[in-house]
Amino acid sequence: GGEGGVRREGGGMISVPQLLGLSVGGAIILGVASSYATSALYRAIRKRVNRHKTIAGGSGAGHETLAPSPAVRKLAAQYKWYGPKFSPKDVPRFYDMASLTENPPVFKQVVDIYVQRYSSGRRPPPTHIAGYDARGFALGAPIAVALGIPFVLLRKDLKSPGVLVESSAYDKEYHEDKLDKMCLRVGSIQRGDRVVLVDDLIATGGTAVAGMQLVEELGAEVYEFTAVVSLPSLKGIEKIRRYKGGVFRNTPIFTLLDEETIGDASGADPSGWQEGGRVIKTADAVRCMSK
């Protein structure tokens, strides 16, 4: 009777064109989705790989520095220093901050390190950047601009206008007779501000501490002291930690490079220097540079 014929399994049958259409459509959607996911993943990985890791620094509580990595070694290799014969000060190595400012990709790299650090979300962000006269100005201003926060000038003398508040005199590495004072314009830093103090280098810590003390006494928080180069042999960070019975013993300190990570290869003293001294007149300079 009617039992003949083929029973179809599983509901409706899909035709070949429909199957093709679905496959292609599915593939496109999957393809787009996966390439989007891949590129997002790629960007996240690249960001992580490029992000410098920080590790505990040598001075104990709160001191961070950059973890050694090929990128950090490359950064250190580009930071030049000069010996006493070619330096303004009588120190074994004069580290030249122009290594950053005259080298745009490296300068940007360093500024980005700070921007990442201060927008990480792990702490409430700083409200102000205070730069030490004058090399701290060049480093601190771009960081402040990138973060959209005020940049404040910590000056060594009375050059700022308005009413100034000054720190007590401090002793520097360089054995100068006159002790400088650190000044801020009254009102530029106030109670409740979270201030990062920026300089290119920390040596004996005298300058560092003078600025930190001033910010502290104005009722603001020293969010962090940072220097690109630290000279551990001069124990500047220890001086900060010991200061006034330990008022800064837990204050975050962040340094990027130091005497060891910046090796001898970064010495930039010109070899075979014929001229009388290291400061030459412009007419001679043109002749030298063309050699």
Binding site: P88, T101, E102, F137, A138, I280, M289
Partner: protein, 161 residues
């Protein structure tokens, strides 16, 4: 920060199209203004400092400023790094303020002596009454000063947009 960013943006917009090779900032307020502009233009920032502050430096002639510092004679000398400028480099000079023009002329003298081409001198405030621009033009007719604000603007009644 907003006003600072606005100033930087104005300078960057102007100099992005002027084929600048480097930005030279005058110690120390030029160090605040110059680096953000230099970073935005992806060009080197070069410090022009008073004598005795830079390693490996070239020094210029003595000059006079608007105000006397500790130096009773009022004379000073500017320095630039020995290696910063290549011959023919197009350099933008930046400082916060131009007054009598003494410092600015000394900086332009120094840059021209190391064979740079000075594109322009940029500043935030120009005190026109002190005649700095005229003095600069007298010595370096091809170099202009480009300032954002002068007494002409400062004495106008401001409105908030």
């Amino acid at each position: 920060p907003e006003v600072f960013q606005l100033c930087i943006d104005v300078f960057v917009q102007r100099y992005a199209g002027m084929d600048v090779d480097a930005i030279a900032g005058l110690d120390a307020r030029g160090f605040v203004l110059g680096p953000p502009i230099a970073l935005a233009l992806k060009k080197p920032f070069i410090m022009i400092r008073k004598k005795g502050k830079l390693p490996n430096a070239v020094t210029g002639e003595e000059y006079r400023k608007e105000y006397k510092g500790e130096n009773a004679a009022g004379g000073d000398e500017l320095c630039i790094s020995n290696t910063a400028i290549k011959e023919g480099a197009r350099v933008l000079v930046i400082d916060d303020l131009v007054a009598t023009g003494g410092t600015l002329i000394a900086a332009v003298d120094l840059l021209k002596a190391v064979k740079a081409t000075v594109v322009e001198c940029a500043c935030i405030v120009e005190l026109k009454a002190l005649g700095g621009y005229g003095k600069l033009q007298a010595k370096h007719p091809e170099v202009k000063v480009w300032g954002l604000i002068s007494e002409d603007v400062l004495t106008l009644e401001g409105t908030v947009a």
